[in-house]
Structure formats: structure tokens, C-alpha cells
């Protein structure tokens, strides 16, 4: 059970400003169903540039709903420059604190606000410009670095609590440690860390693999009366199931490694490992 403050419970059970503003001046959409939480923030400005109304729709746990609700309360009456200065710590403090494992909910609130302001100003969302570090939750290095600096994070566990990075398959944990060390020591090394090959989120990976299967791999197998289906993607492990003539073919293992894996490495990512579903 989480230890939520009364303020969190109050905003969760009786949230303020639920909904979506029609013809908003700014809209911020962050998170996704796959990630387990998502927030759509809309606001309206008056002629002086002051936020007169803000509404939210949130998919997520109690602290995600409470963070969204309190955020709308905080920004109504602010001008955009003031709103742009609201940090996740401000949101959490306003709620009387959040359990440390739930700090990412306040980060999501801040990111939605940032996205909505960027949307109004016709700018790109600054944090999305970085390179994806955590594939599971689509977190960029810029988001991680900012969280480390602003909330004085000192461990990878804390990074996960605040940004969710590293909370899925765990493959990026070494990388998070590098970024942590570089950031804490005001590193000139960060640049070097950033220049690694592009990473993909798991969702992007699945899409690309399916495309490659459909366009490049299936036609070849079908010619021989076989077929292939994608079962699961877990980090770099791609589980597939061979169908039709492939199942009884003595060479199916060779097909899997020499043909399917090679193709996928060439078309999607060179670190993929293809396994047959057992």
C-alpha cells in the first residue's frame, strides 16, 4: 500500500478541472497506454497571456490523477512565463509530497505543461529532442539529465523513481549510471555518451520488425509453403513462431538464424537475437 498524503487522496477522490477545453490555446499530450500512465492537458489564455482555464484527462494511478488535478489548480492565474517555471518538485510539494516511487507522476505533470506551452508557442517539445535511453518507457537522456540536476538524484534507483527510465527490462541501467556520473561531476563526458547509435523504444522496434517480416521475410517463406509470426519482443530477444511447412522442415533452425535473424539485424537493429517460441 502506498502512503498517500491527505492532499493526494483529496485530489484523487475529488479531482479538480477534469475534462478537455474546446479550442484550447495550448495542448500537451504525454505518456501512453503502454507506459501505464498518460495525461492530456489543455489551457486557455486571456488577452494578457494569463491562463484562465486549464483542464486535464489522465489515465493512471491515484498519484498521477492527483498530480494532474493539483497542476491545473496551480497554473490557473499564472502567465506563461510563470507557468514555464513550475517544476515537478513544486507539484509534489503542493501535494504534501509523493512516495518516492511515484515521483514520476509529478514529472509527467510538468512534462505535459511544458508540451502544452511549446504547443502554444509553436515550438518543439525540448525534452523529446534527446536520444532515447530507456526503450521500455521512451525516456530521453535530456529528461534523465534534467531530473538528476533538478531533483539532486544520486542513484539509478532514484532516476527510475523520477523518470521511470530503467524500470522495465533494465537493459539501460549501465547507461543511466554513466549519465548519472557524468552529470553529477558536471561532465564534459556527456557529449561522448550521447553520441552512441540511436535506440528505439520497444513499440518502435515491434513495428519495424513486423514491417520487415511482412515485406521482406514472409514472401520468401511463403514460396516454400511456410510462414512466420511474431510472438514477443523482450529487449533484444525476438520470439517468433514458424508456421506451415516450416514447422516440419529440418532446416528450420538454419532458416531462423541464417535468414530471419540476419534480415532483422540488417533491417531493424544489429543486436537482435531471434528465438523460436517453445
Amino acid at each position: 500500500m502506498w502512503e498517500y498524503t491527505n492532499k493526494v487522496q483529496q485530489h484523487f477522490l475529488h479531482p479538480k478541472n477534469v475534462g478537455e477545453i474546446e479550442n484550447p490555446d495550448g495542448t500537451g499530450d504525454v505518456g501512453s497506454l503502454a507506459c501505464g500512465d498518460a495525461l492530456k492537458l489543455t489551457f486557455k489564455l486571456d488577452e494578457k497571456g494569463v491562463i484562465t482555464d486549464a483542464k486535464f484527462k489522465t489515465f493512471g494511478c491515484a498519484s498521477a490523477i492527483a498530480s494532474s488535478s493539483v497542476l491545473t489548480e496551480m497554473i490557473i492565474g499564472m502567465n506563461l512565463d510563470e507557468a514555464a517555471k513550475v517544476t515537478n518538485e513544486d507539484i509534489a510539494n503542493r501535494l504534501g509530497g509523493l512516495p518516492k516511487e511515484k515521483m514520476h507522476c509529478s514529472v509527467m505533470g510538468r512534462e505535459a505543461l511544458e508540451a502544452a506551452i511549446a504547443n502554444y508557442r509553436g515550438l518543439k517539445i525540448p525534452m523529446a529532442e534527446g536520444e532515447v535511453v530507456c526503450e521500455c518507457f521512451g525516456v530521453t537522456d535530456l529528461e534523465v539529465i534534467r531530473a538528476i540536476k533538478e531533483s539532486s538524484l544520486r542513484s539509478v534507483e532514484e532516476i527510475t523513481n523520477f523518470t521511470k527510465a530503467g524500470g522495465g527490462c533494465g537493459k539501460c541501467i549501465d547507461r543511466l549510471r554513466e549519465i548519472l556520473v557524468a552529470t553529477v561531476h558536471q561532465g564534459a563526458d556527456i557529449k561522448k555518451v550521447v553520441e552512441k547509435p540511436k535506440r528505439m523504444t520497444t513499440l518502435q522496434k515491434i513495428k519495424k520488425i513486423e514491417e520487415a517480416l511482412e515485406r521482406e521475410i514472409r514472401p520468401g517463406l511463403r514460396k516454400d509453403g511456410g510462414d512466420i509470426e511474431l510472438v514477443d519482443v523482450d529487449g533484444d530477444f525476438v520470439t517468433v513462431s514458424l508456421r506451415g511447412a516450416c514447422t516440419s522442415c529440418a532446416k528450420s533452425q538454419t532458416t531462423l538464424k541464417e535468414y530471419v535473424e540476419k534480415k532483422l539485424r540488417e533491417l531493424v537493429l544489429d543486436s537482435l537475437i531471434v528465438e523460436e517460441s517453445k
Binding site: 484523487f12 501505464g36 500512465d37 495525461l39 489515465f59 494511478c61 521511470k164 520470439t239 517453445k278
Partner: protein, 394 residues
């Protein structure tokens, strides 16, 4: 503190109420009869007699011999003991067959064997289909000459889905491979007769069948090679060191006796209540989906996904009405990803995050079912109003 009489408790796969009959037989061993069962004097000896009596009762429920019963501290210890024992008994065999939907007690052990033992292992984790069922042909193909042990749960804690243990154990035996089953959720809910089965190890836990926490059992078939996990004194015939948790062992014995008596009710009245709740919720709440096989399932468990909303938020609203249940959502698991069981079944993210498990017991009443059926639809509707993914006409 919240009083139990004010609570609608539908989380019996997490833990159960200690039956009053169980508590009654435990108390004397926490108060007056504190002797050590290993002692030479009669004051300790009478306690040993109580442990022996409890051992017989556990054996009777399982269709086992009392000598095949080893008392442990919990289901997890029983699981670890069985798997490590097999690996140490056959040091040349470095392959394990298990499933993708095991309880963390087995899952995390199998995933970390290389680190824990310092040896390289192959682990085959069998897939399940959308109903949570295994493919027995794939299972047979997975059994290899170097397989040390098969570890497959009898019934799934999240969905209640029951695996064909009888057949799977027979197939392992035919290949000369040891078979372990984590039966923590099955014991007391469905009949088990180990005399007729080829199961070599079986784990159970006291607190899942109205016994106390902190006591478990590992059944070890007579003649099975065995290496103890906790090494120490000669307790449990040298199979598990450590002074016996006497009061809890006595309580577990009584709980097993009661389970045998209550099993018929579990499979009739409790099952009917479960079905009423399940059908009621699926009918009254749109976009709700049953997770797990419709019939090959424990009589007390129902796992339902409410699409487009998140499980922790649902649970906390239920908590406002003192309704206790569980969720497979990420936020409730302490991790950031939803249940591995639902993911293995291919339940889409839209549904996995919003799954609620209701698990009943003989203490539930029809009034409680009606109460939950009345409270759930507005909770789900309220959260959906707030969800950016919910389209009212969807």
C-alpha cells in the same frame, strides 16, 4: 485499525483469514506448551506429538504419507528447496523447464540461477495461449536428457487457470525427470491425491488456506533424491534445519482438516458466488474482459480487465467502500510494468493495466457479492470519464 467485520474481503489469493478453529488449536502452543519438540523431557515430547499429528493431517489432505511432508517457513522456501535440491542432486543436468506465468518465487529463482549457483543453466519458459493454457506438445518437446527438474504451478495465482499437472508429471516421469509443482493456490481448493500422481515435489503455504502465515510444506516423494536447503539441526529428519514453528504447524494441520471438509462448499457455493459476480460485472460494465480460461479455473478466482482505466485507481476507489481485491497493473506491483502473467497471455496494454482480481473464500456472502456488483460500475465509469483514451461511444 480497520475491523475485519467491516471489510468485504475478496483477496483470498493474496492471503486468507485464519479460521477461528485454527487459531483455537494454535494458542496453547504460544502460551503454555512452549517446549522444544527435539527435547528429551516429556514437556517437549508432548509438543513433538502435536507436530506429528499435524503432519498426518497435512498428509491426509494431499493423499501422501506423513514421512513425505517437510515443514518449511513458506511457499517460497518450499519452491527454492525443491529446485535447488534437484540441481544439486544432478550436477550434470543444467536445464530447467518452467512456464512464463509462474509466481515470482519460481520465476525469479529460475531467471537468476546462473548468478545464484555460479553455473550456466538453460531455462525453457513455456508460453501460454490467450486463455493462459499450455501446449503439451511443446512441453514434451522441451523435455531433454539434461533436464534436472520441471517446475510448473498447479493453479495460477492471478487468473486461477489450472494446468494439467497429472499429465505433465506423467510425461516427466516417463523421461526420468523430477517434477515439482507450486500448488500454493490449488491446495484446499481442488482435490489432490498424490498417491495417484507422478509428482515428486509439491509446495504449499499455510496462509492461503485459512492457516497462519510463516509456515509452508514441501512434499517430497519417498525415494526422491534430496539435498536440504536450510542446513542445521536434525529437525524434519535432517531435511530442514531450524526449530519447528510449532504453533503454526499445529494450525496448518487443523487448516488442512478443515479444507477437506470445506472443499465441497468451495466448489459449489463459492463457485456460484464467483460466477454471479463475474457474469454480473461483465454484463453491467462495457469493455470488460475475463482473463483466463473460462472453465479450467479455480472455483474462487475471477480476473477481469476494465479497459482504458488503471488498476491502482480502481482499487483505491474500491477501498473507499472497504472492498479488498488486487490488480495486475504496473502501479500496484511495485514495478513499472504490468503483470507478467497477463502479458504472457497477450492481454493488450489497454486491458492489462486495468485488471482486477477478485478471489473469494467460504467466508464470502451473497450480500457482499451484490454490494460489489452495485459499487463497481460507477467506479469504472467515473475513472473512464477522466481517461484520455476513453471515448464514450466506443
Amino acid at each position: 485499525m480497520m475491523r475485519p467485520e467491516n471489510v468485504v474481503y475478496m483477496d483470498n489469493n493474496a492471503t486468507t483469514r485464519v479460521a477461528p478453529e485454527v487459531l483455537e488449536v494454535m494458542l496453547p502452543y504460544l502460551q503454555d506448551y512452549y517446549g522444544n519438540p527435539s527435547s528429551m523431557h516429556r514437556f517437549g515430547g508432548q509438543v513433538e506429538a502435536a507436530v506429528t499429528e499435524a503432519r498426518k493431517k497435512v498428509a491426509t489432505l494431499l493423499g501422501a504419507d506423513p514421512e513425505e511432508i517437510v515443514f518449511t517457513s513458506c511457499g517460497t522456501e518450499s519452491d527454492s528447496t525443491a529446485i535447488f535440491s534437484a540441481l544439486q542432486s544432478f550436477p550434470d543436468k543444467r536445464h530447467i523447464v518452467t512456464t512464463r506465468v509462474e509466481h515470482p518465487a519460481v520465476k525469479n529463482l529460475c531467471e537468476n540461477l546462473d548468478t545464484l549457483t555460479g553455473h550456466k543453466h538453460r531455462v525453457t519458459r513455456l508460453m501460454v495461449d490467450a486463455d493462459g493454457m499450455l501446449d503439451l506438445q511443446k512441453y514434451e518437446e522441451a523435455l531433454a536428457d539434461d533436464t534436472a527438474i520441471v517446475s510448473v504451478m498447479w493453479a495460477n495465482n492471478e487468473t486461477g487457470v489450472i494446468f494439467p499437472i497429472e499429465e505433465m508429471a506423467r510425461m516427466a516421469r516417463a523421461r526420468g525427470i523430477l517434477f515439482h509443482t507450486d500448488a500454493v493456490q490449488a491446495v484446499g481448493k481442488i482435490p489432490i491425491n498424490l498417491k495417484e500422481l507422478d509428482v515428486d515435489f509439491l509446495s504449499l503455504s499455510g496462509h492461503k488456506l485459512h492457516g497462519p502465515k510463516g509456515v509452508g510444506v514441501l512434499y517430497v516423494r519417498r525415494g526422491t533424491p534430496f539435498v536440504p536447503f536450510l542446513v542445521g539441526g536434525h529437525q524434519e529428519k535432517g531435511r530442514r534445519g531450524g526449530t519447528e514453528n510449532v504453533a503454526s504447524i499445529v494450525g496448518l494441520g487443523r487448516a488442512c482438516e478443515l479444507a477437506a471438509v470445506n472443499m465441497a462448499e468451495e466448489n459449489s457455493r463459492v463457485k456460484a458466488l464467483r460466477d454471479k459476480l463475474e457474469q454480473g460485472l461483465l454484463a453491467s460494465i462495457p469493455h470488460s474482459i475475463l482473463n483466463g480460461h473460462k472453465t479450467d479455473r479455480l472455483p474462487n478466482t475471477s480476473n477481469i480487465s476494465f479497459e482504458y482505466v488503471e488498476g491502482e485507481a480502481i482499487l483505491l476507489h474500491m477501498d473507499q467502500y472497504n472492498i479488498c481485491a488486487s490488480s495486475g497493473s504496473a502501479c500496484t506491483s511495485g514495478s513499472l510494468e504490468p503483470s507478467h502473467v497477463l502479458r504472457a497471455m497477450g492481454v493488450p496494454f489497454t486491458a492489462a493495466h486495468g485488471s482486477i482480481r477478485y478471489s473469494l473464500s467460504i467466508y464470502n456472502t451473497e450480500e457482499e457479492i451484490d454490494f460489489v456488483m452495485e459499487k463497481m460500475p460507477p467506479i469504472i465509469a467515473g475513472l473512464r470519464q477522466m481517461s484520455p483514451f476513453w471515448k464514450a461511444d466506443a
